[in-house]
């Protein structure tokens, strides 16, 4: 009698637990943004946003979120992705989690995931995205196009590059700048353009022979280009150029081909403001949020949202999960050829 009773009790308990669990997850999925907003307000109204989002875009995008959800202020912690990752790791070691949500280059998001600083959670809005733009614990927030750009006062119209290969020409010697960490250029060309590793390595060797000057930070590269520090940039971000050109900067950029990298969102584990983080994550993944990103000058990955600025090139070489897997291999060769640390 007792055994049967215990078995029955256990069965019922498991059933109830299952229903409750299901109910919670269902309610999370079925929860409207406004319900989540109310929970977020109770957390104090701050979001610690560890994001590499360039100021020039953030100042247009974040106010839209703050206007949509009054009472919530975004504390944008702005640094290059490697520093943000290092910072999050150090903070975790110090026993404090400060970040609520990460939004940075996929390769750096994978680092914080590797360090067990992220929860496995995707917003229900993720359903609209293709499989190669998401995983269990991250999804694309926007896409960044790496392409070539130049100073129009220093480069004649007929010399403007039409494709990356043009930079192999010795006429560009001593006139180029690039970002030291843009291994994506090598990966994109090897896997999608040439479909041949050796050809891609050869191209990078020719670039090395042109004595590229390396700097850290794409915004900095754009500013250097404007100032005339170099004639052209081999790996610059397309979305940096329309706003600067509007301000009168003498710049041009390539739209024939480009490398598409993913900037990913990931929710921090033990975040100090978890509901606020979820709210932002859901908003930025939604059509509404993606339209704000587009209006702010970014390239939205949402299949139904088009970019506002002309920043999507005709041919795109995407760097998704498969390409990221071979990152280390290509990074090693990139650093060797270009003699980088």
């Amino acid at each position: 009698m007792l055994r049967v009773k215990r078995k029955a009790f256990l069965t019922i308990a498991i059933f109830v637990a299952g229903v409750m669990l299901g109910a919670t997850s269902t309610s999370a999925a079925g929860q409207s943004l406004d319900e989540l907003y109310k929970l977020a307000l109770k957390e104090g109204g701050t979001l610690n946003f560890y994001a590499t989002l360039a100021q020039i875009n953030a100042e247009k995008i974040l106010p839209v979120f703050e206007k949509r959800f009054p009472g919530i202020k975004v504390n944008h912690v702005d640094a290059t992705a490697d520093k943000l990752a290092a910072r999050a790791i150090t903070e975790a070691r110090g026993g404090r989690v400060i970040s609520d949500i990460f939004q940075m280059a996929l390769e750096n998001v994978l680092q914080v995931i590797d360090q067990k600083l992220v929860v496995d959670w995707l917003p229900p809005e993720a359903a609209a995205y293709p499989a190669n733009l998401k995983a269990a614990n991250w999804m694309a927030a926007d896409m960044v196009i790496i392409t070539a750009s130049w100073n129009t006062s220093l480069v004649k119209k007929e010399d403007e590059p039409k494709q990356f290969d043009d930079f192999a020409d010795p006429k560009w010697k001593g006139k180029l700048i690039a970002e030291a960490r843009d291994v994506e250029l090598l990966i994109g060309l090897a896997k999608h353009k040439y479909k041949n590793d050796e050809k891609a390595f050869d191209f990078v060797r020719k670039l090395a022979a042109n004595n590229i000057e390396f700097h850290k930070g794409h915004s900095e590269l754009a500013e250097f280009l404007v100032a005339g520090q170099a004639a052209a940039c081999v790996t610059c971000y397309a979305h940096h150029y329309p706003p600067r050109i509007k301000k009168g900067a003498p710049l041009g950029y390539m739209l024939t081909e480009g490398i598409a990298t993913i900037t990913a969102n990931a929710l921090a584990k033990d975040a100090p403001h978890p509901n606020t983080a979820r709210l932002f994550y859901r908003w930025s993944a939604s059509e509404e949020g993606q339209k704000a990103y587009a209006a702010g000058g970014r390239l939205p990955p949402h299949p139904k949202v088009e970019p506002v600025e002309k920043i999507r090139p005709a041919t795109v070489y995407p760097i998704g999960t498969d390409e990221i897997k071979e990152w280390r291999k290509y990074e090693k060769i990139w650093k060797e050829i270009l003699k980088l640390r």
Binding site: N48, Q55, D78, G94, R96, I98, Q115, A227, R341
Partner: protein
């Protein structure tokens, strides 16, 4: 040098064991041990730890191997050596020339140049480096562009992104210190030896070479040492100029170790221990050379006036040199920052650029929350640091010089220890400390407060002990004889007499902590931004003209603090 040390003439009545006020100095001492010693212990321990899995550590010696037997060890060592000795030499030469011209010669208008030589202290190290990048960047630096077009040169004459460039930029920021130290030395020289030489027929140059300079040798050695050590510990120039130029020194190697994936505390710690040892050796040598004269403030009774050299016609050359220095080395960085702050993006001066001038950057800052957060944090931190440091060091100075507590000399030593700790090492040590004991102050401004207070205790001690030594015991004894307790005496007699020294120390610590960079760079987070880090981050991200605007506002704030100081105490200058 005619200086006199005051012997310690007897001690004030100690509170008895029954007097609860005894707790106050003992607590002060305990705090000092916690601040000065514990982080160093954690640093040492941390240098033997390696991470094998996220947040799992084992003990190993491989960090030292990675730090001192890697392919980069030699270049880091050579770069650091050249950078430190080059800067020490250059800032010494410039500082001595300025000091000599203004103190010991009849150069016209020399008294105006004294405060001017000290003005660069107002410019935070980060801004100094940024301003010189604006001026000497190879392709678009203003000086390069101007000289190239003026002389029709084929390539720009200067490249700031080089070791000589780093040496120049750092030296320029250190000249005020060299200047003040050498001025003090020149002021206190006994002229009788020089007069004897002149009377025996030596000319100005011979006297300088064979008498003046020889008399100065101990001071020269000590000044060069302190300049060398301070350069070795600095991080502003290595960060802003060295890293883009890929010239790495010890401080930048430590910083890079922390920003790798995953952050390598072990290697950073091993490097930091080495740097700390170098620094400690340097400071020890410095104290030996100065025979501990700097630790005790001394009363200098001046019984003579140092001799003025008559330069004859050459005094106009001296004047020319001072003017050139003022315009090109002191004024130009300020001007270029001011100019750049009105531009939408960096551009050389031209009619076209003039059309683009606007207040946009300032308007932008008006609504830019991180700027106001950083300004608020910097002001709070600098004022709190100065207050806490001065209160703490007054107590400690009282224990050391006025009480009969046995072993109080240990406190004096402990208070001096932080001067050997480079800022970035301090930042590192505190991270390691709060990793081992996860008290959740990491990431807040409180850990920054702890770091700053620890760093500036030696300066506070110098100010406090200098003042305390000059207070005669009779006053305190009188209060005690009239029935005041220890605490009442301290509060109502000692503290008010200490006030001038405390104010000077307070102002100095406030200014240096407002500008602080190398400690903050590892410790400041999104919730605890300070201005110097905001400058650095935004400059790295290419918002150079907004950075110039922040810089202008930062300088204005610092100038206001100095102006307040000038009003309160009637002095402009730093106690050395």
């Amino acid at each position: 040098m005619a200086t006199a040390t005051i012997p310690l003439i007897g001690r004030v009545n100690m509170p008895t064991l029954r007097d609860p006020a005894l707790l106050v100095p003992v607590i002060g001492a305990g705090i000092l041990v916690y601040l000065a010693v514990l982080p160093l212990l954690m640093l040492f321990v941390g240098s033997f730890q390696a991470e094998v899995a996220p947040r799992e550590f084992v003990y190993t010696l491989k960090n030292y191997k990675a730090a001192y037997a890697s392919e980069y060890t030699y270049s880091t060592f050579m770069n650091s050596l050249i950078f430190a000795s080059g800067s020490a030499a250059l800032s010494f030469v410039l500082g001595t020339m300025l000091a000599w011209l203004t103190e010991r010669t009849n150069t016209p208008l020399r008294s105006i140049f004294v405060p001017i030589a000290v003005v660069p202290l107002i410019l935070p190290g980060v801004l100094e480096s940024i301003a010189w990048i604006f001026l000497l960047s190879p392709k678009f630096g203003y000086l390069n562009v101007w000289l190239t077009s003026l002389f029709g040169l084929r390539s720009p004459p200067f490249n700031v992104f080089s070791l000589p460039g780093m040496i120049w930029v750092h030296s320029v920021g250190q000249v005020p210190l060299a200047f003040l130290l050498m001025v003090a030395a020149f002021k206190s020289m006994d002229p009788s030896l020089e007069e004897s030489a002149m009377m025996s027929g030596a000319n100005t140059w011979q006297t300088f070479r064979r008498v003046t300079f020889r008399l100065l040798m101990p001071t020269v050695a000590s000044v060069m040492l302190i300049l060398f050590v301070r350069t070795l510990e600095s991080f502003e120039t290595p960060a802003l100029i060295g890293i883009p130029a890929r010239i790495y020194v010890y401080t930048s190697e430590i910083y890079l170790a922390f920003n790798e994936y995953p952050p390598d505390y072990g290697r950073g710690g091993a490097l930091a221990v080495g740097l700390l040892l170098l620094s400690a050796v340097g400071v020890w040598m410095y104290t030996r050379v100065t025979k501990e004269g700097k630790k005790f403030q001394t009363v200098t009774g001046k019984a003579f006036r140092p001799r003025q050299f008559d330069l004859g016609g050459w005094r106009w050359v001296g004047f020319g040199f001072l003017t050139f220095y003022f315009v090109f080395v002191v004024l130009l960085p300020f001007l270029v920052l001011f100019w750049a702050s009105f531009l939408p993006f960096f551009a050389t001066p031209s009619w076209d650029a003039l059309n683009k001038l606007s207040l946009d950057n300032y308007r932008y800052l008006g609504g830019f929350r991180p700027f106001w957060d950083a300004m608020k944090n910097s002001i709070i931190l600098s004022t709190l640091t100065a207050t806490v440091a001065m209160v703490l060091t007054s107590l400690v100075a009282w224990i050391v010089y006025k009480s009969r507590l046995p072993g109080s000399w240990i406190l004096d030593f402990l208070a001096f220890v932080p001067i050997t700790i480079p800022g970035i090492v301090m930042g590192m040590s505190l991270i390691l400390l709060y990793v081992a004991f996860p008290v959740p102050i990491y990431g807040t401004i409180w850990v920054l407060l702890i770091a700053y207070v620890t760093r500036y205790i030696p300066y506070g001690m110098r100010a406090a002990s200098g003042s305390i030594l000059q207070i005669h015991n009779e006053l305190e004894e009188a209060a005690s004889a009239s029935g005041a307790s220890w605490w009442e005496t301290f509060k109502r007699v000692t503290l008010p007499l200490l006030r001038p020294g405390l104010v000077a120390g307070w102002i100095y610590i406030c200014i240096v902590s407002f500008r602080e960079f190398s400690t903050s760079v590892l410790l400041a987070t999104g919730e605890s931004r300070v201005l110097s880090i905001l400058l650095f981050t935004m400059f790295e991200q290419g918002q150079v003209t907004v950075v110039a605007a922040i810089g202008v506002l930062m300088i204005a704030t610092l100038l206001s603090i100095v102006a307040v100081f000038y009003k309160l105490t009637g002095k402009v200058g730093i106690q050395t």
